[in-house]
C-alpha cells in the first residue's frame, strides 16, 4: 500500500499520524482530514473551471469560424484570469426592491448544487469521496437544489424578465427530471447497483452498447437540465435579455456562469460514468489510479465537447414545443424503454455476452424505431387537421 497505488488513503493515514502526533483528538483529526480533502477537491475543480471558460470560448470560436481569445498569454490561456479580475473589481451591488438575502444566497446555491455533485464522482477505483449507495438519486437531489437557486434568483431580482426566465427554466427542469430519472434506472438495472462505483465496475461492456437509446435520452435530459441550447429559452437573449440572471453583475453573475460551465462538464462526466465506462479503458485503470483519473477526465471532456457541439449547432426551441416534446414523447419513450430493458435483461440473463449485447442493442433500436413511427403518424394526422389531407400527401411525395 504505497502512495502510487492508493494516494488518498496513504495521504490520509500520513496526515492522521501527523495530527495525532501533535496531540490532537482522533475524531477531530478525522474531521480535519475530511475537510482538507473537500478543500482540495473544490480547489482543483475551481481551477479547472477557470480553464473551462477558456476551452468553451476557444471551441465556440472554432464552431463560428473565429480564432477565440489569443492575445493574453500563449493561446490566450491567461484570458480567463483577466476576466476574473474584471469581474472581481466590478461594483458589487444589490438592485433596489430586490430581496437582499435571497438575492445574495441564490448564486451561492447555484454553485453549490454543482460542487456537491463531485462528492460522488469516482475518479478512479480508489479516488472517490463517498461511494453513496443511493448515488443516482443524489444526482437528482443536487439538481433539485439547482432548481431552487434559479427560482430564488428570478424572484428576488424583482424584475419581470428574471421572473419569466426563472419560471421557464424551473418548468423545464422539473419536467425533464422525469425522463432523466427513468433513464438513470437503466444503468441501475443493468449493474444491480445505484452507487456510481458499482455501475462503473459492472461495465465490462460499455452500457452505451447495451442501452444506446438510454444514453441518448439521458444526454437530452441533461442538456435541458443545464439550460443550454437548444433548451436555453430561460435565458433567450432575443426575448428575455438574459433570463433569471439579468440583475446579477460582477462575481455574482460569475458564480452563475462558472456554475453553468462546471455543470456542463460534470454532466459530461456523468454521461461517461453511466454509459461509457467511467474511468475504465481497456484495463488502463489497473495500471495506476492516476492513469484512471486521466481517462475519466478525458471522457468527461469528450462529453462536455459533445454538449458544446450541440449547443453551438442547434437553434432554440419554443417553450410549449419543448414541454410537449418532453411530456408527450421523451417521458413515454423513457418509461417504455425502462420496461423493455428490464424485461430483455431478465430474458437474456445467462446467455453468452455477444448474444446478450446484441439482443439488448436490438431491443433499444426497436423501441426507438417504434417511437419514431408513432410520432410520425401522430404528427402527420395533426398536420392533416390543419392543412388538409391533400397538402400533406403532396408534401410527402
Amino acid at each position: 500500500m504505497n502512495f502510487w497505488n492508493d494516494p488518498l488513503k496513504t495521504a490520509a493515514d500520513w496526515l492522521m499520524g501527523v495530527f495525532t502526533g501533535w496531540g490532537m483528538n482522533e475524531v477531530a483529526a478525522q474531521v480535519l482530514i475530511a475537510f482538507l480533502g473537500v478543500l482540495l477537491l473544490i480547489t482543483l475543480l475551481m481551477v479547472l473551471d477557470i480553464f473551462l471558460v477558456w476551452i468553451e470560448r476557444k471551441v465556440v470560436a472554432r464552431f463560428q469560424d473565429r480564432l477565440g481569445p489569443n492575445r493574453v498569454g500563449p493561446f490566450g490561456l491567461i484570458q480567463p484570469f483577466a476576466d476574473i479580475v474584471k469581474l472581481l473589481i466590478k461594483e458589487d451591488f444589490t438592485p433596489g426592491g430586490a430581496d437582499k438575502v435571497v438575492y445574495n444566497i441564490a448564486p451561492m446555491l447555484s454553485m453549490m448544487s454543482v460542487l456537491i455533485l463531485w462528492a460522488i464522482v469516482p475518479l478512479a477505483p480508489v479516488i472517490l469521496s463517498v461511494d453513496l449507495n443511493v448515488g443516482l438519486l443524489y444526482l437528482i437531489a443536487a439538481g433539485a437544489i439547482g432548481t431552487l437557486s434559479i427560482i430564488m434568483a428570478g424572484w428576488a431580482s424583482n424584475n419581470k424578465f428574471a421572473l419569466i426566465g426563472a419560471f421557464r427554466q424551473v418548468a423545464v427542469m422539473v419536467s425533464f427530471e422525469v425522463p432523466m430519472l427513468a433513464t438513470l434506472l437503466i444503468p441501475t438495472i443493468l449493474s444491480g447497483s445505484m452507487g456510481l462505483n458499482g455501475i462503473v465496475q459492472a461495465q465490462n461492456t460499455w452500457f452505451v452498447f447495451i442501452a444506446p437509446l438510454a444514453a441518448l435520452i439521458f444526454l437530452i435530459a441533461a442538456i435541458a437540465e443545464l439550460g443550454r441550447a437548444p433548451f436555453d429559452l430561460s435565458e433567450g437573449e432575443s426575448e428575455l435579455v438574459s433570463g433569471y440572471n439579468i440583475e446579477y453583475a460582477g462575481m455574482k453573475f460569475g458564480m452563475f456562469y462558472a456554475g453553468e460551465l462546471l455543470h456542463a462538464f460534470t454532466f459530461g462526466g456523468f454521461w461517461a460514468i453511466l454509459f461509457f465506462g467511467g474511468y475504465r479503458f481497456f484495463g488502463l485503470e489497473q495500471v495506476s489510479p492516476f492513469l484512471a483519473v486521466a481517462v475519466m477526465v478525458f471522457k468527461a471532456m469528450i462529453g462536455y465537447w459533445i454538449i458544446m457541439w450541440i449547443k453551438y449547432t442547434m437553434m432554440r426551441i419554443r417553450i410549449d414545443h419543448m414541454l410537449a416534446f418532453n411530456w408527450k414523447f421523451l417521458t413515454p419513450v423513457a418509461f417504455v424503454l425502462l420496461m423493455v430493458v428490464a424485461l430483455a435483461n431478465a430474458l437474456l440473463a445467462g446467455t453468452p455476452t455477444w448474444l446478450y449485447v446484441s439482443g439488448m442493442f436490438l431491443s433499444n433500436v426497436l423501441v426507438a424505431w417504434a417511437a419514431m413511427e408513432v410520432a410520425r403518424t401522430v404528427s402527420r394526422r395533426e398536420r392533416e387537421k390543419v392543412e388538409g389531407p391533400k397538402a400533406v400527401a403532396e408534401a410527402h411525395h
Binding site: V31, L132, Y138, L148, I151, W155, V170, E177
Partner: protein
C-alpha cells in the same frame, strides 16, 4: 457530550428555528424558503439515523417538487407583491395554547416512557438498508400492496389536480 450529540443538537435547533419562521413570517415566499431549510434539516436527521435513502428522497421530493410547487402557488395567488393585512386570525392565542399544550403533553409522554432513553444498536455488518427496503417494497409477503395503493393514489392526485386547476374556457 459526543460529537454525534453536538451535531444532532445543531441540526435540531436549525430545523425547529426555521420551522418556527415558517409559521410566523409574513412574507409567504420567505415562509416557503424557510420550509426548504426545515426540510433540509429533516433530511440531515434522516442521514443521522442511517436512513440514507429517505434523506435523498426527502431532498428530491420535498425540496425538488413540493417546495417549488409552494413557491409557484404563492406567486400565482397574490393580487399584489405585498402581504397586506394580518397573517394570523384574531384567535391566534388559542392555537398557540393548543400547540404548547400538545408539545408539553407529547414530551411528557416520551419522557415518561421507559423505552425512550435507549441507545441504538449498531447496524449489522454488511447491512444493505437500500436493498432491504427495495425488497420490502416489492415482495408480495411484505408491503407490495400499500406500495401499489400509493402509486394509484399519486395517479389519482395527478388527474384530480389537473381537473381542478384546469381553466375551462
Amino acid at each position: 457530550m459526543t460529537a454525534e450529540q453536538i451535531v444532532f443538537l445543531i441540526v435540531a435547533l436549525v430545523t425547529l428555528g426555521s420551522a418556527f419562521m415558517v409559521v410566523t413570517t409574513r412574507n409567504l415566499i420567505h415562509a416557503a424558503l424557510w420550509l426548504v431549510a426545515t426540510l433540509f434539516g429533516v433530511a440531515v436527521v434522516y442521514a443521522l439515523l442511517n436512513a440514507g435513502f429517505l434523506a435523498v428522497v426527502q431532498v428530491v421530493v420535498y425540496i425538488g417538487a413540493i417546495a417549488i410547487l409552494f413557491i409557484f402557488a404563492v406567486m400565482l395567488t397574490r393580487k399584489d407583491a405585498r402581504d397586506s393585512g394580518p397573517q394570523t386570525h384574531k384567535n391566534w392565542w388559542v392555537g398557540a395554547l393548543l400547540a404548547v399544550a400538545s408539545y408539553l403533553g407529547l414530551s411528557a409522554l416520551v419522557l415518561g416512557w421507559s423505552g425512550s432513553s435507549k441507545a441504538a444498536a449498531g447496524l449489522p455488518s454488511g447491512f444493505d438498508a437500500v436493498g432491504q427496503l427495495g425488497e420490502a417494497l416489492t415482495s408480495p409477503n411484505a408491503y407490495v400492496l400499500p406500495f401499489e395503493v400509493a402509486s394509484v393514489l399519486l395517479l389519482a392526485a395527478l388527474v384530480g389536480a389537473v381537473y381542478v386547476a384546469f381553466n375551462r374556457k
